[in-house]
């Protein structure tokens, strides 16, 4: 039997240690993992982007259920270990006892709650885990919500920025004279404060909290100086302390943290501890980089190998979008110290280096932090900088008369230079990984973890890739929308929502577009995202639409257009057919064709004729078929039970209802539906974006089919009993697709990314969510469901579509 390893705490440190252990010795232990949180390991440091809406929880999960299964880990999530019995070698939880041969304590930290009256009122929360984030997000949903954040350090400011991006009115209370005083000097603290205030966050320094006021829940915060700030929630981010309670009870040696040696072993040789809960050489750490180093050592110790942890130096970055801030080391004033300061007020840049005996001992940078890791490297190595003092502050690019090309600077970095602070990855390791075949960012993250945590070093990692690979370097897998931005579609969508950007200039301004008015790639995408997210506020921009959507007809290769009237569910009648035939005659339509979606296509119409043709077709009651749109195209149907001997339901009728509900909705890509009356499936419903097959007991709704460049069968979404439910599920699905997919992804591509289960949870299982999706869809339809032909079948449009001038006469003179 394998020795039993029990782990207490499913956090960042233990997650990393297990990875190392399984990599080297997959079968060494039988592992049981306890965690108080009802979920597995995620990247805790990315909670701030989740709070601000720049990432989703799914994106920050580091170990999913599959990973635990694959490695045979017995997961006991949601179960807190209350006691360690060292004599019997067992741990105790509410559910019973579990025995171990080796034990890991990786319980992290507990937030420090300042002991003021009112601290236990509902609405007072810490900022530590996903549940805290959810509580904050709930509070942000209320009308006119207000938050007070106590603590102007790293955590408090990330919480403040996130809450503000979620639309809350935020006040930060900070006991000291300037923000982040442990990492920043007053000058940088001032710049940071100015930036935050510019965003509408109120900052009160030298604020001593006296009490939290409220009857049943938090209502306000009272300061010693008498100031009162209203608050719906109070976030305590005033510090953390190592979570050592069970270790103390078990009589392990504990000072500020659980005392461990260089091998990460506690005073009991069978118990290891590492992470934020420990103290090593008198020091307690609160950042991930040291924990990851500890995890590496602990994994070795568990395999019976020699390894030693020798302490870490740490550097800090604030993860608030648009704030560039870096600090490392010691930057207090002192007689034995020199300093070099650089200020560029117009760019908002401030840099300060602190030297002692010609060696760098501290650095603070604000506004331009590109060279941070280079300075940090000099500091860690204790490099003598006497030679480069004059140009030191300008960074590596200016050393040795080298060019200012950042690539050259990266090329010049020594192998030991640290690139990724979180994971302690140096340049040499990255170069080695590249030589071993990791040629893109994804592979690099998989092999070395570089840039996989907080992500601020992504640019540097890419530069090392580019320098090492030269022309072979392929861009990272997450492609930016286009050359006008470095952001991906997903980033842009999230930022539009979280920052409430409601116009194209606002998006381009706030998200730092590199061009004045975008390009043919980003503009149609932005136009869609804005109208999908803010139907009531945004005004559609025809100039950002592809020619077909601007001219409400399909452009053909010779510059003529094709016109497709809508025939609901594929139904028509003699009167409509006559009107179509008349229009074909009148406008000399050379080709009349029935499309794959059961509609009639009139091909070869001249642009100038379009407005009059629309008017004629409108007069007969026909509206545009949107056969040209990134929107709902057609709902194909079979004849169903009205006529067919096999039909189980009225498939044609359902098709008509669906088309009437969905027409005119703009979507990330075209959307096609079909409804068949029985499993014989004459309408070919199982290769559409949404296909419904009627059966005796009801309706089978399936999604994500394709019959274009890719061939794909739909996957079952739901089986429902009533027609109304079939319509509801379909509408909710279309809206979820509209709200989340990347522009120009068909539903099947989007589904491959988010997973059918995620969609089911929202559209099928969660009835409230389904209802809200439907409401948002209907709101959008109340504005966008209109016939473009009717709107443009007038003299103005005729004028606009005709030539501006005719110079044939003049030119001929």
């Amino acid at each position: 039997m394998r020795p039993r390893l029990v782990v207490i705490g499913a956090g960042m440190a233990s997650g990393r240690a297990l990875e190392h252990l399984f990599d080297a010795a997959p079968d060494a232990y039988d592992v049981t993992l306890f965690g108080s949180e009802p979920r597995g390991n995620y990247n805790r440091i990315m909670l701030s982007p989740v709070l601000s809406g720049e990432k989703t929880y799914e994106e920050i999960v580091t170990h999913d259920a599959e990973w635990y299964t694959e490695h045979g880990v017995t997961c006991r999530f949601g179960e807190t270990v209350t006691r360690i019995d060292r004599d019997r070698k067992i741990v105790v939880t509410a559910k019973g006892e579990t025995s171990y041969d080796k034990l890991i304590v990786a319980t992290g930290s507990a937030p420090f709650i300042i002991p003021v009256p009112g601290k236990d009122l509902p609405g007072v929360m810490a900022y530590r885990d996903l549940d805290d984030v959810h509580k904050m997000l709930d509070a942000a949903e209320k009308p006119n919500p207000k938050a007070v954040v106590i603590g102007g350090g790293l955590l408090g400011l990330e919480a403040a920025a996130g809450l503000q991006m979620r639309g809350m009115k935020v006040t930060v209370l900070h006991l000291m004279g300037h923000l982040m005083e442990r990492q920043l000097d007053p000058a940088a603290g001032y710049l940071l404060r100015k930036e935050l205030e510019g965003r509408g966050i109120r900052v009160h320094c030298e604020a001593a909290t006296k009490a939290i006021l409220g009857e049943e829940k938090v209502e306000a915060v009272l300061l010693e100086d008498g100031t009162v700030y209203d608050a719906d929630i109070v976030v305590m981010a005033a510090g953390i302390r190592p979570e050592t309670r069970i270790a103390t009870d078990a009589e392990l040696e504990v000072e500020r943290g659980i005392v461990v040696n260089d091998q990460m072993v506690t005073s009991d040789p069978d118990i290891l501890a590492f992470g934020e809960c420990v103290q090593h050489e008198g020091i307690v750490y609160g950042l991930v980089a040291p924990l990851y180093e500890m995890a590496k050592v602990a994994a070795k110790t568990l395999q019976g190998e020699d390894a030693a942890y020798r302490g870490s130096q740490t550097s800090t970055k604030l993860k608030v979008t648009g704030v560039d801030l870096f600090s490392a080391g010691d930057f207090a004033d002192g007689d034995d110290r020199d300093e070099i300061v650089f200020r560029d007020p117009s760019r908002g840049v401030y840099k300060r280096l602190v030297l002692k005996e010609n060696r760098l001992i501290g650095a603070v940078m604000y506004g331009d932090t590109q060279d941070g890791s280079w300075f940090f490297g000099l500091q860690k190595d204790g490099t003598d900088v006497a030679e480069m003092r004059d140009t030191l502050i300008f960074g590596p690019a200016f050393q040795g008369g080298a060019s200012v090309d950042p690539m050259a600077a990266v090329a010049a970095l020594p192998d030991e230079a640290e690139i990724c602070g979180c994971n302690g990855v140096c340049k040499g390791q990255i170069v080695q990984a590249i030589q071993d075949g990791a040629t893109d960012l994804g592979a690099m993250r998989a092999v070395t973890k570089a840039s996989g945590s907080c992500g601020t070093c992504t640019g540097l990692v890419e530069q090392v890739l580019a320098v090492t690979l030269g022309d072979d370097f392929v861009l990272p897998t997450a492609q930016p929308v286009c050359g006008c931005t470095d952001l991906t579609h997903e980033d842009v969508r999230r930022l539009i929502k979280s920052q409430e950007l409601k116009s194209m200039p606002a998006v381009m301004q706030e998200l730092d577009w590199k061009t004045s008015c975008g390009c043919h790639v980003c503009r149609p995408a932005l136009n869609f995202y804005l109208l999908a997210d803010w139907p009531a506020e945004y005004r559609d921009d025809p100039q950002s639409r592809f020619v077909n959507e601007r001219n409400h007809a399909n452009i053909q290769k010779d510059g003529t257009y094709s016109v497709v009237p809508r025939m609901w569910g594929g139904l028509t009648n003699p009167r409509e057919l006559r009107a179509i035939a008349d229009a074909a005659d009148k406008y000399n339509v050379p080709t009349v064709k029935v499309t794959g979606g059961q509609r009639i296509d009139l091909l070869g119409v001249k642009k100038e004729d379009l407005p009059r043709m629309w008017a004629d077709l409108n007069a007969a009651g026909l509206v545009s078929g949107h056969a040209y749109s990134k929107g709902l195209r057609t709902v194909k149907t079979c004849v169903g039970k009205e006529h067919c001997r096999f039909g189980t339901q009225d498939s044609t009728g359902l098709g008509v209802k669906l088309e009437k509900r969905l027409w005119g909705s703009w979507t990330p890509h075209k959307v096609k539906l079909a409804v068949s009356g029985c499993p014989r499936n004459c309408a070919e419903a199982t290769c559409k974006d949404v296909g419904i097959v009627c059966v005796d007991s009801g309706y089978e709704v399936s999604v994500g089919g394709a019959a274009g460049m890719d061939l794909k069968e739909t996957e079952a979404l739901a089986k429902v009993t009533s027609e109304q439910e079939a319509i509801d599920v379909t509408v909710a699905f279309v809206q979820l697709f509209r709200e989340n997919a990347k522009y120009l992804d068909r539903p099947y591509k989007w589904l491959a990314k988010v997973g059918l289960d995620w969609v089911k949870a929202r559209v099928v299982d969660d009835l409230a969510e389904r209802q809200m999706l439907i409401e948002r869809f209907d709101l959008s339809q109340s504005i966008y469901q209109k016939d473009p032909w009717a709107e443009r079948a007038n003299a103005d449009a005729q004028h606009a579509m005709a030539p501006l001038a005719n110079l044939t006469l003049e030119a001929a003179e």
Binding site: C517, G518, S544, N806
Partner: protein
């Protein structure tokens, strides 16, 4: 130079275009976001796409048929594509757009 008034600036949508018919085919008259006006041939050298129907961005237009991008200033295709569209003098005065008829006639003579 023989400037002829071809219409009001406001008749051309910002970041859009209108065409002017000449004896030798259409000229596309573009209005950029900064309200500058450019005139070019309306035919894409690739497969004849109507450039006036393209998306206008900066001082460039993207052909609606296969996304070739042309500079409105020089007429040159950008990026990997090779090709050139003719450009013509255009100017705006008091909200009216003028093209040089002499130049356009040369076009028909050529």
């Amino acid at each position: 130079m023989n400037w002829v008034d071809i219409g009001a600036l406001d008749d051309i949508p910002q970041r859009g275009a209108r065409v002017v018919k000449t004896a030798m085919g259409c000229v596309a008259v573009f209005r950029t976001r900064d309200d500058q006006v450019f005139a070019t041939s309306d035919r894409c050298p690739h497969k004849g796409g109507p450039l006036s129907e393209g998306i206008v961005h900066g001082h460039k237009v993207t052909c609606p048929l296969h996304n070739w991008v042309f500079s409105l200033e020089t007429g040159e295709a950008e990026g990997a594509d090779e090709g050139q569209i003719s450009t013509y003098s255009a100017r705006v005065q008091d909200g009216r757009v003028y093209l040089d008829a002499t130049e356009l006639m040369k076009r028909s003579a050529a």
